[in-house]
Subunit: 423 residues, 2 copies
Amino acid sequence: MIKANDPNLHSWITIAPDCEFPIQNLPFGIFKAGFKDPRVGVAIGEYVLDLYALSQFGYFEEVNIPDHTVLFRDTLNAFIALGKPVWRQTRERVSELLRNDNGEFRDNEEAVRECLIKRSEVEMLMPVRVPNYTDFYSSIEHATNVGMMFRDPANALLPNWKHLPVGYHGRASSITVSGTDVIRPNGQTKVGDNAPTFGPTKELDFELEVAFITGRETQLGSTVTPDEAEDYIFGMVLFNDWSARDMQRWEYVPLGPFLAKNFASTISPWVVTLDALEPFRVAGPEQEPAVLPYLQYSGNKNLDINLEVLLKPEGGQETTICRSNYKYMYWNMNQQLAHQTSNGCNLQIGDMYASGTISGKDETSYGSMLELTWKGTKPLQLPDGSERKFINDGDTVTMRGYAEKNGIRIGFGDCTAKVLPAL
Amino acid sequence: MIKANDPNLHSWITIAPDCEFPIQNLPFGIFKAGFKDPRVGVAIGEYVLDLYALSQFGYFEEVNIPDHTVLFRDTLNAFIALGKPVWRQTRERVSELLRNDNGEFRDNEEAVRECLIKRSEVEMLMPVRVPNYTDFYSSIEHATNVGMMFRDPANALLPNWKHLPVGYHGRASSITVSGTDVIRPNGQTKVGDNAPTFGPTKELDFELEVAFITGRETQLGSTVTPDEAEDYIFGMVLFNDWSARDMQRWEYVPLGPFLAKNFASTISPWVVTLDALEPFRVAGPEQEPAVLPYLQYSGNKNLDINLEVLLKPEGGQETTICRSNYKYMYWNMNQQLAHQTSNGCNLQIGDMYASGTISGKDETSYGSMLELTWKGTKPLQLPDGSERKFINDGDTVTMRGYAEKNGIRIGFGDCTAKVLPAL
C-alpha cells in the first residue's frame, strides 16, 4: 500500500467529518492568495498548503525537485513534468509533514503562518495548461439513452460502440476552473422546416464527467498499453462538458460536435492523484463481445467515485438532481489512453481526457438534462415550484464527487458554474 | 498598398525567377543553424535572414519590439503576441533592409555574414506552438464528392452545409513541420460482416489544405465578425491533413473523425503573412441561400493561391497528381473565424484553422486520393508503371502553393513528408 493512503493516518490539522480533503487525499492545485503570485498548493482540511513557501523553509530538501521554482508557477505542468516518482515523493513528504506524530512543520510557528492559508481566502486557478483535450463517450447507459432519443430505439448503440471507446477532440482553450461563469452561447439552430436562425441556445445542458490528466509525454509513433496507462496519468478532476443541444443537433453531422460544446467546460480545481484513488479500485462491467488485444487489461481499472449534480436557481435552493458513479463506465481510462495512442498519437503533459457523460441504469443517475428530462418531455420539478427542461439563466450547476471507505472521503472540491444570459 | 508589396521592389539578394521568396513575400519561420539555438527567421531567395542576429546588430531599433529575445525562441508565439502593428513594422523594416537601393545592411560585411544563412543549410522547425486546432470542411466540391461516395449521390450535401462552415476540433500535438516522416498508423477497421481487426491502415490518404494562424487572443464570450477577422490572423501555411480512410469509416459515427486523423498532420515551414497575400484577393463563389447576418462579409475574401500535390515513390520520379486553387473555397477564412467565435469560443495565439480539403470542379483538381481515385475504383497510373489507390509505404507526398501576379510569386515552401511502414 502507498504509505500516504493508510486509513489510520491522522493529521495535526483538524479535519471535519465528511471533509473531502483528509490527509489521505492531498490533491494538487494552483492558488492565488491576495497579491501574491500563483503557486502550487495542496488541499488539507479547510486549508491550502503553499508548497512553494514550504520549499523555501527547506522542507522539501529530500524531495527530488531540482528547481523549486516549478512550485512557483501558474500551472502544474512544470511540476508534473518532473515525473511520477517526484509527484509520489512530494505527496508522501507532505503527508509526513502533516501527520499528527510529526512536529517538524507543526511546531514551526512562522512556517505554519506562512504556508497554511484558509481555502476560503484563496482563489483557485486552472490547475494545468491543457495542450490537448479529448472527450470520450464511454458510458453505455448514456450512449444508449442518446441513441434511443435521436436514432433507433431498437438499435440504440451504433455498431462500433462496443469495439472501441468512441471519442473526439474538443476545445482546450475554453476549459475553465470552477467558479467561472458560463455565458449562454448564441448559435445556429433549425426547427422543423423553418430556415435556420441565430440566437441564444434554448437547450443549454450540462454533462457529468470525470477527466484524467496526463503527466508523461510520448513521441509520435509510441503507444501505451492499458496496463502501462497508470504511469502516464497524473490525476483526475470533475468535468462539466456544457452542451447546447439544439445547436448540436443541427451542426454535428458529419464531423461531430463543435460550437455546441466549445463555448465552455468547467473543471474542479483540485487534481486528485491516481495514488490517492488507488484504494477505490473496483472491477468494471464485463465487456462482451471481447475487445481486441490492444484494449485488453488486467486487474481492476474502474474507480468507485460517487458523483452528484446539484442545481440552484438564482436566489433559490440547491437541489440534487442526479446521483451517479464513475464505476459505471463501460470503457475504463486505461483503455481510453491505449486507444488514444494506438495509432501513435503523441501525449503531452497536461492533456485532458474526459470520460463522456456518466449515466447509470437508474433514471435518477442520468448525467445530463437531456436524459433526466428525456429530451424535455419529463421536466424536473424544483422545490420552488418551477420546472426545468434544460438549464435557465441564473442557474448554478454544481458537480461533486468523492470516493469513500473506512470513514475516509477523498473528494475533488466543487465543480460549479453559474449561467449568465447570452450577450 | 502595403509598401513591402510593391511589385517594383528589388532586393540586392539575387532572386531566381520562380523563386517563392522574393522581397514581396518575407514569410516568418523558426530555424536552427548548426549548433545555434532556434530563432526567428525570414525567407529571402535562397537564404534565411536571422532576425535575432539582425536585432543584435541594431537594425531593429526603430521597430517596436520591447524585448528582442522574442526573436530568440523556438516558436513564433511570443513575437506574434506583440500584435499586428509589430508584425507589419518588422516586415516593412526587413523589406527596407533588403532593398537594392539601401546599403545599410548590404554593406555591413560582418552583419551579412552573421545574418544570412543558406536555406539549404538550416533545419526548419514548427513555426508555432499550436494551442488549438480546428479543421473546416469548406470546399463544396470536396463535401459533394465525399457525400456522393459515402451517402446519397442525389443529396450529397448535408442540410447544414450551406448554412454554416462545418468544422471540428483536431489534435494539436501531432501537427509536424515539413520533412518529418509520417508513420503509417495502426487502427481498427471493419470489412463487411467480419469482426473488426487491428492493424496498419490500408487506405492512407492526404488532404490538400491551407491553414491560417491566429495572432490575437480573445476572451471567452467575445466574437469576431467576418470583417474584423483579418486583424486576428497572422498568416498562412500549407496543411496536409493525413487521413486513414478505412479507420475513419468505422470510427466516425456519431462524434466525428478521431484516430483516423490525429496520428499526423504536416505543415509548410514558412508562415506567409496576410499582408503578403493581400494583392491576391479575389471574389468567392456566390453563396446561395444567403447566409445569416453573422456570416456576411464585404469585399473580396478569397485568395488566388495555386496548389499542387506531388507524389514520389521510393527511389522513383516525382509526379504532379493534383492541381487545385484556394480560391475555390465556398466558405472563406473570415467566415470560418466568425463562426468559430460566434458562440463566444476564445481564440489563442498560434491557433491553427485548416480549410478542409480543397477540391475544384475538375477531376484533376481533387485534393485527396479518395476523390482522385474515386474510392480506389480508378487508380492513378504513375510513370514507373505502378498504380495507386491510396498512399504506399515509401511514398513521399509534397504540397506546393503559390500566388502569382506581375511576375512575382509568393510561395510557402514545400509541405512534404515521407510515409514509413507501420510499427
